[in-house]
């Protein structure tokens, strides 16, 4: 739990919405981020860096496959497993 009381999911979505530049990522957690061009390779790395800073943990590009991070739901699940919710 962050000091602000927001959940890991909310904090992840805030960052994702900023990088994908659409609120649609909150409305549809199963949105295919790559298919809809909301993330590309550089965007994915940007997201990893931003999440690393937000949660104070290392999110390492060499450990994540594209398919592991294809939707908002998958990214949230990953961050919850890492941040211990």
């Amino acid at each position: 739990m962050g000091a602000t009381g927001t959940s890991t999911a909310d904090r992840t979505l805030n960052i994702l919405a900023g990088i994908a530049r659409t609120e649609e990522v909150r409305r549809n957690l199963d949105l295919d981020l790559f298919k809809f061009h909301l993330l590309d390779s550089l965007g994915m790395v940007q997201l990893m860096v931003a999440l690393s800073e937000e949660f104070g943990i290392e999110v390492s590009p060499s450990e994540i496959g594209r398919e592991d991070w294809a939707t908002p739901r998958k990214i949230i699940a990953y961050m919850e497993s890492r941040a211990g919710v």
Binding site: D40, S41, L42, V45, S60, G65
Partner: protein, 485 residues
């Protein structure tokens, strides 16, 4: 220097040496020699000896190298086109180039296994070697003609400036062959008997796989856009331990951010970092400078360097006079590396190319300034941008958006900070708006646009407007358009 002779001689001297690694495939200098000879003989039999360009359509396959050299040996220039371009765009390039033949990796791999002597012909320095297609402001790609003379001049300079160990180097090939940055790694590698190691779009889409391959590649010379290095640096293990043989970074294609250079020097203490600059019209690059810590501390934005020998890089005012030292002006390049112009477009050629004291000269449209004898890049005069190293005319995207059904008008704005862009936003006025949420309509439009433009030119965000704010001189007021969001 005779480029082809030098590469061919490696095929005879070190036929088993690996020239190219791409995905699971490798190509030796011996195979490159005899396959390109056979294909050259075939092409010469198929096409009239008219110097018409041959489109080579593919990605990073080993067959691409065979195709490039065989086209040259057959007496034609090649136009490299990436297979990820939508078919419509490829067709436009084919029409513009007047190409009568398109080679693909599949075509090359089906070539019968025969020995054949290539046609005997002596190229003149003024003969076109390759045609590089780049974004045009009216929505049509334009082909930059690079001659044997241009390419040789560029390569002679690079080989003299960067000491490369014959037969010892492994070069990173990051840029697609349709982007002229790849000319730097491809030909420096082939001329020094090195190995070219390609990262494919599949590798780039899959960071995990990318780092595994980079670690295994034994790279010695890194050639990429700064954006790609930045992407790799996101992984903390990307350092001298992962790439122990790496000794030289060569950057081109876009502004090198000081923080990227600084982190590279930290992580690779034994390696040199070089910044280079040049438009496609002046053959890949024509200024260079080694970036060290002192320079990073001293200059908030890094210099693009000193002009190469035999080439002038002048900073000129609107009237075409050199500005006073330290003043800003347009960078104008004159020398043997400057292209004769755009293929089949005398109108566009006349606008940007001219003769300066008998030398071919090109107005870059780039703002520049000399400080301490070093040239600095200070942005664009027009609306051309670099996005992740790709050269894009904003007008090209707008023209293609306006051509879509239902779109009345379109304005595209690059997004980013500190003059470095990371995505595009399109503002649209719809004549009739399809039903659905803004997001759904955006997706439909993006899909339609993807049939006309390469993926790197597609806007990430679409905003819908009833009208565009105008400036007093009747142009779209891009600033208030963005502020209204």
């Amino acid at each position: 220097m005779n480029i082809l002779e030098r590469i061919d001689s490696l095929g005879r001297r070190v036929p088993e040496k690996v020239a190219h690694v791409s995905g699971p495939s490798t190509l030796t200098y011996g195979t490159l020699l005899y396959r390109s000879n056979a294909l050259a003989a075939q092409i010469a039999g198929m096409l009239p000896d008219d110097g018409s360009p041959v489109v080579v359509l593919g990605h990073k396959e080993c067959e691409m190298l065979v195709a490039f050299l065989s086209v040259i040996k057959s007496g034609h220039p090649y136009a490299p086109v990436d297979a990820f371009l939508p078919p419509q765009r490829v067709a436009r390039i084919r029409d513009t180039s007047g190409s009568q033949l398109t080679l693909t990796p599949e075509y090359v791999s089906r070539l019968p296994d025969i020995q054949a002597a290539p046609p005997r012909r002596q190229a003149k320095p003024s003969d076109p070697y390759y045609i590089m297609f780049t974004s045009g402001s009216t929505g049509d790609p334009k082909g930059v003609v690079i001659t044997f003379g241009c390419l040789e001049d560029f390569l002679v300079w690079m080989l003299a400036e960067q000491r490369m160990a014959e037969g010892q180097e492994v070069f990173l090939n990051q840029a697609p062959f349709s982007f002229d940055l790849s000319i730097m790694d491809l030909y420096l590698s082939l001329l020094t008997g090195g190995t070219l190691f390609s990262v494919t779009s599949q590798d780039i889409a899959n960071p995990r796989q990318l780092y595994q391959k980079l670690a295994a590649a034994q790279l010695t010379i890194w050639v990429s856009t700064p954006s790609f290095a930045r992407l790799c640096l996101a992984e903390r293990r990307f350092n001298a331990e992962m790439l122990p043989r790496l000794r030289l970074f060569l950057f081109c294609g876009e502004t090198l951010p000081p923080e990227v250079a600084a982190v590279l020097l930290d992580r690779f203490p034994a390696a040199e970092v070089w910044n280079t600059y040049g438009p496609t019209e002046a053959t890949v690059a024509m200024t260079s400078v080694r970036i060290d810590r002192q320079m990073i501390e001293h200059y908030p934005s890094l210099p693009i360097g000193f002009p190469k020998p035999r080439t002038l890089a002048l900073v000129m005012d609107e009237a075409g006079w050199p500005v006073a030292p330290g003043e800003r002006g347009e960078i104008v390049i004159a020398g043997p590396n400057v292209s004769p112009g755009y293929l089949g477009r005398p109108d566009l050629t006349a606008r940007s190319f001219f003769k300066l004291d008998g030398q071919q000269a090109y107005r870059t449209g780039d703002w520049g300034r000399y400080r301490d004898g070093l040239l600095f890049f200070e942005g664009r005069k027009d609306s051309q941008i670099k996005l992740h190293g790709y050269r894009i005319e904003i007008g090209d995207i707008e023209a293609n958006l306006r051509a879509l059904p239902g779109v009345r008008d379109a304005t595209v704005v690059p997004e980013g900070k500190d003059g470095s862009y990371d995505s595009l936003t399109a503002y649209l006025i719809m004549a009739d708006r399809p039903s659905g949420s803004d997001f759904e309509v955006s997706c439909t439009i993006r899909e339609q646009l993807a049939e006309r433009l390469p993926a790197y030119m597609l806007p990430r965000k679409f905003c819908f407007r009833q009208s565009f704010p105008m400036t007093t001189n009747g142009k779209v007021d891009r600033r208030s358009l963005v502020d209204s969001t």
